[in-house]
Amino acid sequence: MRGKSSLFLMVFISVLLAFSVFGCAQEEAVNGDPAGQEDDIFIVARGTDAVTLDTNWAYYEGEIDLMYHLYEGLVEYIDDDLNVGPSLATEWSNSEDGTVWTFKLREGVKFHDGTDFNADAVVFTYERILQEDHPYANMGDWSYLDYLLGDVIAEVKAIDDYTVEFTLNNVFSPFLTYMGLYSQFIISPTAVQEYGDEFYKNPVGTGPYMMEEWKSEELTSMVLFDDYWDEKPAIEKIIWKVVPDASTRMMELQTGEVHAIKTILPEQFEVLTADPDINIVRMAGANIFYGSINHDAEPLGDVRVRQALMHAIDFDKLVESVYEGLGTRAINPMPPTVFGFNDDIVPYAYDPERAKELLAEAGYPDGFDLDIHTLSTARVYIGRPIDAAEIVADYLRAVGINPTVVVNEAATHFALISSYDYQLAFEGWYDVAHPNNFMRALVLEGMTNNYKPQELWDLSDMANATNDMELQEQYYREMQEIIHNDASMMPVAHNDYTAAVAGNVVDFRLDPIGNVILLGTYFE
């Protein structure tokens, strides 16, 4: 008996000992730990890592944050409405007919590898993506630059060392706004030539930070670039840490191991708000969560049926319970923060009786069977897609429709939607806060719902073909009115982009695209 109890005692003591060693060691290590101590290192925890660091080929959520620190474009956004100001270009002009843009480039700018920034670098950047036979073409899978401007830009030409001319196929009103976006940022031609297919791991731009280390799925670190042309940011080094679990992320912030966490869950909002040492940063997001209605799937081709769906659902309540205050109700395909938003639209009122009448008029007094497809996991525009679909189903059941909620994993879900194999499916969109990216890229090009009226195409073409802002606004408002009257889709909500930061962090910024911007950030 004695032998065994001493055995247990030994185990117990060694466990205790081990923990006290950890405890002591921890005091020492924390003092040497950068987090929370030294003012010049800033650590951000995010759920996802980048896949490529090549800005012209980047498009994942996990990589865009990084691009705004490593690279720069000819112009940059100076406010949340995406108005642009000078960056690598000091001034620019548009030709009489609107198709030629001339940029005067900043002199004395260097890339991180010492290469001079000049007109050749700009031409190289664009030709690498837009010319299929370019020696460095196809270095990625899908380019946002190609998607946005591939059909727009006819030629990029160096006039002299510091003047570049972009010739467009037609007048294209979003052009200047797009030039401030990460996919249009300028890369170092010598670095591309040097690293070739490995450039995506060795990014070289002109941005205030240069790449230090990338440990896939662990961290990316970047340090201040000594020869940066403009005033340098206050933070010496940024570490982007990958912490996939949202609860772990929150605890990382609470213990001071990181200074900021990107994206907080609605259920964490209250805890974090109550913490006096933590501040929450919110930004109305340029995104939308909506129900895609397949107009070719019976009986959804009938406008009365679609309007009945809209009347059957109390969207305010739905948004309140699913987003818990971190989102706003959507009434149009684009967010109210975007230029051209039609605020005259009066959303369909929650009116189950009216819904039943409309269904009866359409010949469905006893309702119909409806599959509602939804995503199994969160996306940037929705935290709890299953809850949203279940609530919608409850409302529809109340007016006599017989809904079945089908939950799909992302790959299955998008495959199903893109092959038109659904009736009602919840999905979303997040993009640059420009009306073209919602009214055309989403409504006319992105959405697979068999609703593409010619008049919408015409209005979109007209809006893109004029630089007159008032005319553009008029066209976009008209488009939203048509979509509303046709009840062609079911707008649900716009998700706020969120982050939480330590109390001593000042000027931590989220932009309307959801990016973390640390260029003005400092510690108090």
């Binding site: 290590a29 896939s216 570490i239 840490k241 990958v242 772990t248 605890m251 994993e409």
Partner: protein, 335 residues
């Protein structure tokens, strides 16, 4: 001689097993709906965009051609390039392997040493309070969801007590000379005490969380196997000779009782080398489990195939090792 022939025979079985496994995996991942292009394009997956990218990535070829291409390359040691990250599959697996091995070895080591000790003691003092505590504890251990346990450990040891770091493998900003990729060993090799302590502190919670689950399993297996052995005639003979119970248990019975335990330990190591998804996620541990899950979500075919083949290989090798240990434990077993 027969012994070596046995080993060679066992190693040769690897080939048909790998071929069979790769065919099954290939078929399974292609049967499930969705493809890498759809995931990549996500919301932007219009039919035209999808078709263009599918063609660009060579996914439009007939399935059997894709399989043969992949398989012949794999035979030459080229497991292809990840669709998601564009890195060589083998490199990516090897990078993650070190992190996963740290967890697997650490947790099985702790779980096995403590588990065997507790299991033997429980059997030795069968039906006493010690036995019941051991059984109760192991029941708890196998029932606790590990992500919850991990969460609670972080909350207690990192948030409330502040003893241990929340997650990750190393404090950020600590520079490391990687030799093997196993940080504890690297720290010893480079004689860096600070690095060693830091790595150990990061390792502590995930290893303990995993060990709790496996500890429970080992306790149960050891206990029941020991009880069986203690009922054998030779144990009674030994006792009748007047030997002390402890000597009987540890000298005569233990070795024989360990055979099923070794099997379970072997399988646990193999399982853990395939990655502990939940633990890796909660503790931001960059191991193979997370890589596999991300790759499946992304339909990263070459990566999924690579990881599964790797796991199959690990199971085969470990089973072989377990068989060899049998022969050592029980001299009657001969191959």
């Amino acid at each position: 001689m027969a012994f070596y022939r046995y080993i060679i025979k066992r190693l040769l079985i690897v080939i048909p097993t790998l071929i069979g496994a790769s065919i099954v995996v290939f078929l399974l991942i292609h049967i499930i709906p969705g493809d890498p292009v759809t995931v990549m394009l996500g919301e932007r997956a219009t039919e035209a965009a999808r078709l263009a990218l599918i063609e660009k990535m060579g996914l439009d070829q007939p399935m059997h051609i894709q399989f043969i291409n992949w398989f012949t390359a794999a035979m030459k040691g080229d497991f292809g390039t990840s669709i998601r990250t564009n890195t060589a599959v083998l490199d990516e697996i090897l990078t993650r392997l070190a992190a996963t091995m740290e967890l697997a070895i650490g947790s099985v080591f702790i779980a096995a040493s403590a588990g065997i000790l507790i299991g033997v003691t429980a059997a030795r003092y069968r039906n006493t309070i010690i036995d019941q505590m051991a059984i109760g504890f192991s029941l708890l251990g196998v029932s606790i969801p590990i992500f919850w346990l991990g969460m609670m450990m972080i909350f207690l040891f990192a948030v409330v007590l502040g003893w241990l770091p929340v997650s990750g493998r190393l404090s950020l900003g600590l520079s490391v000379n990687e030799v093997t990729g196993l940080y504890l060993i690297d720290a010893i090799l480079t004689r860096n005490l600070k690095f060693f302590i830091d790595a150990l502190r990061h390792l502590a919670m995930p290893v303990l969380a995993l060990a709790t689950v496996y500890l429970a399993l080992f306790v149960r297996v050891t206990r029941s196997s020991m009880l069986e052995v203690l009922g054998e005639d030779y144990v009674r003979t030994a006792r009748a000779k007047g030997l002390k119970m402890n000597i009987v248990v540890f000298k005569h019975a233990l070795k024989n009782a360990l055979i099923p335990v070794v099997t379970v330990i072997g399988l646990s190591v193999a399982q853990l080398l395939g990655g502990a998804v939940l633990t890796e996620t909660v503790f931001s541990w960059p191991g193979i489990g997370r890589l596999l899950i991300t790759s499946i979500g992304f339909r990263d075919y070459p990566m999924i195939q690579g990881i599964v083949l790797f796991v199959v290989l690990v199971f085969i090798v470990i089973n072989l090792v377990v068989d060899l240990i049998y022969a050592y434990l029980d001299p009657r077993i001969r191959y």
